[in-house]
Symmetry: C3
Subunit: 332 residues, 3 copies
């Protein structure tokens, strides 16, 4: 059987893990990136496309293959084209439309009794420090903070002027929570019927994470474009709450977006100085922060006494499903 | 033989390491946390307590067991109850009272010819930037910085008002050293008669480590609550000084707090831009920053060509002691 | 065969890796550091010197040995003495004079079609935020930022007054790029005829990385002395550009500094919020940031399904060269 993915985001980790679990591997790559991916020995087949239309056709020509989605899939290929993928997709493809819509996304969290930042429907309602976010996984491009209605409106106007959004309804205006970011990476295993913490990361964002290096009297507007990730662990005493959130989320998605979340997901959180966890976003698939842990994370080593990246964990889950004759439980 | 610990802090790592070394494991857990710890496969026995009194009784009922203390023990159970633990305790239990008292703590460092920040006995003496710290390992809660006697006094008044302290004598007022934090994690092995560097970490503190992400003109008071840890390595040329400090500290504790430090300890330091190491605190047991290194650290791999967390290192030391018939050399 | 290096920088990693690959090891150490290095079990021979003159003689007395240079070599021993090393040196020793000269250094990057910050020949030309750097690998000591010609001149005057430089021609004045630092560590293998990404790190600098912890109204001048390193991974979509730069650099050095770069090198970069990579410096040898990855990095695990530090990778390359009878292809 072939495990395949789109050339970007966490594809190296996914295909490396697939190879370690004994699968053949295929990558769906644009022409411009092919050379880069040829540098690695664990990719068996190259499906090189000229345009996104061709990409879907190439993918659908694969026999006996599963497709592993990641955070760049919708961004690169578009949600409509993704819906035309005929290959079985690892995880729950019904989550894609929920993820593309910031409002629906936050609703899934709220339904799970997970603490989230206050959301403001309209710029007029803003009464505190907020962050304004764009739809989809654009890696933070265009995000801005604002303290007043006026600043929110000015920021939105700039996004419209730069054509970064079509209209302001696409945006989400969220209370800005003061605390530290922590991204809790989980994996729900239908085969083992348990949720595993696969790692924690912090995003490394340009330019905001560089600004502190400037002399105090030099001003530059912060931008929040994710360019990398840094590893972290959490205080052990906050993990029970993180797991409670994870379990709640799994139950909610099972009820609302059948068959529920399968495999990797991430609760993107701020930890406050009351050691409360406020989740401001989730990802329903593998996140790029797992790329830190190609040889396993401080948490994955607690479950597996072997190197277990999330990429490999996906392949392992597929292996377990094949052995049990239950592959339909992990793909949609 | 059973290795046991209290459910918190670094207990996952400790029991995971114990299991890797072939021990049976037991966890002493409050009812609220039991479910969380049931998620992990390496915990054999659960001692679930309703209150701290029961906790000590449950622990004392264990046969053929050793108890591994960590930084949350005194905080959760209280130093008086801890003194009633009849099980052999890995390490030197005589260090506990020294650690609970900030003044005695700093004295051990000073006696070791380790550079420490200037200490101010009374708020009236303050003549520079200081940090005011609470007793015990409260994870930084309530810590504040101040520049003048007046600010120190105001801060202390707030702590008294919030009942975070009983009286101001419990506090320690330290010169605030400008530089970068580095936590040097050591392990003194009576069996191999050597000190090992097991890792280096940086604390990830809420909200101070999130504040830099705020626009420059938004003000928020920094708080210093440790919510996690980030891995780091040190410039190789500063390690000789760190080891000199570690050796001095081992000698001092041997003379002053017999039988001296055994197993893990940590020198909590600021490295200045003169590449000097100023130690502002120590921990006489395993620190939570070692949780980063469940699969070994950049330093542990220099000693052991196998994954060696500090949790496992403790279990290994007990194993070595059993083999040599010298278990009394590593417990008190 | 013996692999040898100078006691500092990344020597622990280099000799640990050499031992894992089956070599005998030797360290060239000053008397003051000998005790520190005796703590590690993988160093077979100690060449202890009283002064730098003796150091070179001791080294040249080694039989059947290769010397592995690192970033502290020129700094400690001086470029003239280094030229007297008769042992074969792993890598390209002809790069040393290029690295010691900031202007020639930047020229190699520019010739490689790598984006670099604008360079200002004279303080008079400065028209934007700049960083002024000292020659050699002094770990950032003395570096300063400035916004105007006037500030540049004042800063230079201070360096001259403190005798940190002899004259201002040694300095390099570079545009200060706003973004986040990322250090891309590469390894060019003549034996496998490929370039590998061995890891990415962020420098941990004192005091600049500690200043953000100060209350907002306390001012301290930032200094940029590297005291350690923190691990990171990059967004997968920026890696193709990083590899393009690496390939270009290999080609340029082959043409201009025969036989070209061999083994580890590092492209020291800022990633902007346009996800562009601007390289402000390179290292032509192993960098200290690789010390994070003694057990392999998230990237090295993609190439090697075994722990592969850069130290070990060097030893592996020498092993491959010996097997192929081509040792002269990896030493100069």
């Amino acid at each position: 059987m072939i495990l395949s993915t789109l050339a970007s985001h966490s594809s190296l980790q996914i295909l490396h893990g697939a190879k370690m679990e004994g699968f053949r591997t295929a990558i769906l790559s644009s022409q411009t990136r092919e050379n880069f991916y040829r540098r690695f020995g664990f990719i068996d087949n190259f499906l090189v496309y000229k345009n996104e239309e061709e990409a879907i056709n190439l993918l659908n020509s694969l026999q006996d293959a599963i497709f592993i989605p990641h955070g760049s899939l919708i961004e690169y290929v578009g949600i409509e084209r993704v819906s035309k993928i005929k290959l079985p997709i690892f995880g729950n493809r019904n989550l894609f439309p929920w993820e593309s819509n910031q409002v629906k996304k936050m609703k899934l969290l709220e339904m799970s009794n997970i603490k989230t930042p206050t959301r403001f429907e309209r710029p007029e309602d803003v009464d505190r420090l907020v962050i304004v976010k764009l739809p989809g996984a654009k890696g933070g491009r265009g995000y801005f903070t604002a303290r007043t209605k006026k600043e929110v409106k000015e920021g939105i106007k700039q996004l419209l002027d730069k054509k970064m959004i079509q209209n302001e309804d696409e945006l989400i205006i969220q209370e800005y929570i003061i605390g530290i970011p922590m991204y809790f990476q989980f994996f729900y295993s239908p085969m083992l019927q348990r949720v595993e913490l696969t790692g924690i990361d912090i995003r490394y964002e340009t330019n905001v994470d560089g600004l502190r290096r400037l002399p105090g009297d030099i001003k530059a507007d912060p931008t929040f474009v994710v360019a990398g990730n840094i590893p972290a662990v959490a205080r052990e005493s906050i993990l029970p709450l993180a797991f409670e959130y994870a379990e709640n989320f799994i139950k909610t998605t099972r009820n609302v977006v059948s068959p529920g979340v399968i495999g990797p997901f991430c609760l993107e959180s701020i930890v406050t100085d009351q050691l409360d966890i406020i989740v401001f976003e989730f990802s329903g698939r593998i996140v790029a922060g797992t790329n830190i842990y190609v040889n396993g994370s401080p948490y994955s080593w607690l479950y597996w006494n072997e190197p277990m990246s999330v990429g490999r964990r996906i392949a392992r889950e597929i292996n377990l499903a094949i052995q049990k004759g239950k592959i339909e439980d992990v793909v949609t």
